[in-house]
Amino acid sequence: MNKERDIESNTINLIVNGENTPLIVGDQVSGLLPSHTLAYTLRETLGLTGTKVGCDHGACGSCTVLVDGKPILSCMTLTIECDERRITTIEGLGEPEIGQLDPLQQAFIDHAAFQCGFCTPGMILASKALLDNNPPPREKQVKEALSGHFCRCISHYHVVDAVLKAAKREE
């Protein structure tokens, strides 16, 4: 049906960490299937494994990335619906070429705000969105922003310290 061809996507462009990333829809190698989640595309197609998949059902926050600056769950997002979206993953923070870390990343190191580290990329990105879009938060707001993030090692206390400290640095 003609109208279907017009509104079915053939190629989409993701802007990942500032880079245009065209993907061709289809079942060829490295092709984009409509059922691919953004988490899958980032990790398996683009090799950006910094984004983690914990539960794959939107209930743990590990897969959080920023889309147009907002924290969303990449495991519950279809890549094919992200055409021309600006996506920030953990690999996009700081300046990796010169070994420069984002102040949040440094704060997480300074406050030992991780143990196994699996939930850390998602937490850092959610925290980044909080700090970038709001005046320096109080403890309650940090906890609210991270309330969807599962951490079984219980690094919560150190994470809150790290985010508050990073917020002060940016002031």
């Binding site: 079915e8 996507s9 907002k70 519950m76 619906e81 969807g148």
Partner: protein, 323 residues
């Protein structure tokens, strides 16, 4: 998950036309936070051939308040509703409900329409196919309701019939207390359906070729006291074990008009009309609240493991009235 075709219609008509073409074998996708979970777990024997993305349709995410009331598009995100000044000002039960849903990330993705139309969370219904095969049941068209003899701690204490899974939508409860209506578009045109007529035991009244294009909330002429109280095992993340939405017109401590809606206690949202009758015209004090709370649950028929919901619902009704 298994793949499907995917379409980005740019108008409601295009979306309806696609739904018509697929005759029930296509599903609308909004935020995707409910749909993708049930597709990944393959909980239903049928799998959609196509997903129709309504996020691409412009103008469906508006939030507009004026003298006629509130008009919200189905694609409005829950985070936007929670932060909307007009809603927080005049219809705070709605923004409070939106704030209670899931987690911040999900609220950035989930839409009002999606929240209203989401599928139930009954754990027999939602059992993942990969762990030994999906569970068939009355709601799926085959078999009994497993909750009746099984673990029904989260199931209905009233209104259940053949299926006892509760309506999981917080927004539906808040909208029920606001006497909202849903504009539903289909092949034969549009219809405006009052929210009390939008749900039945097995879910919403939407046909496979219909979709919600607007949510209407009537104008509130006077300042009302509103609350949305959601009881969960933990905050946030959880679906409600019981919830109460209240919109109370109070004058000099006397209740002039009470609207109370109960959530997660029945397969549909419940207007607690007996409780409303018990409090209307009375001074709102602890005794009156107690009586209203008792009236709210008077018709409850608990199952083997969920009598505790009665106590919790009573507590929430009292707290909503006395807040």
């Amino acid at each position: 998950m298994k793949t499907f075709k995917h379409f980005n219609p740019t108008s409601v008509e295009e979306a309806l036309s696609l739904l018509g073409d697929y005759q029930g074998r296509a599903k609308l996708i909004a935020g995707g936070t409910d749909l993708l979970g049930s597709l990944k777990d393959h909980i239903l024997p049928d799998y959609p051939e196509a997903l129709i993305n309504i996020k691409a349709i412009p103008g469906l995410d508006n939030i507009q308040g004026n003298g006629e009331g509130l008009r919200i598009g189905p694609s409005a995100k829950l985070a936007e509703i929670a932060q909307s000044p007009v809603i927080r000002n005049t219809y705070p039960v709605l923004s409070e409900a939106a704030e209670c849903v899931a987690t911040p990330e999900i609220r950035n993705m989930a839409t009002l329409g999606g929240n209203l139309c989401q599928d139930t969370r009954c754990w027999y219904y939602r059992y993942p196919h990969e762990m030994g095969g999906r569970i068939l049941c009355y709601r799926k068209g085959r078999g009994p309701c497993h909750a009746v003899k099984g673990d029904n701690r989260y199931h209905a204490i009233m209104g259940g019939k053949a299926c006892f899974a509760v309506c999981p939508s917080d927004m539906a409860i808040a909208l029920t207390a606001l006497d909202a209506s849903l504009k539903i578009a289909g092949p034969k045109g549009e219809r405006l359906v009052q929210i009390k007529d939008c749900y039945h035991v097995l879910g919403s009244v939407l046909q496979p070729d219909e979709f919600v294009t607007e949510i209407h909330v009537p104008h509130l002429p006077k300042r009302t006291k509103q609350a949305f109280i959601k009881f969960t095992i933990r905050k946030p993340v959880d679906f409600a074990i019981a919830s109460v939405a209240s919109v109370i017109l109070e004058e000099k401590g006397v209740c002039k008009d009470a609207r109370l809606a109960l959530g997660a206690v029945a397969p549909t949202p419940v207007r607690a009309t007996d409780a409303e009758a018990a409090i209307n015209g009375k001074a709102i004090d602890a005794n009156a609240a107690e009586r209203a709370a008792a009236a709210a649950v008077a018709g409850a028929k608990p199952m083997s493991k969920n009598a505790y919901k009665i106590e919790i619902t009573k507590a929430l009704v009292k707290r909503a009235l006395l807040s």
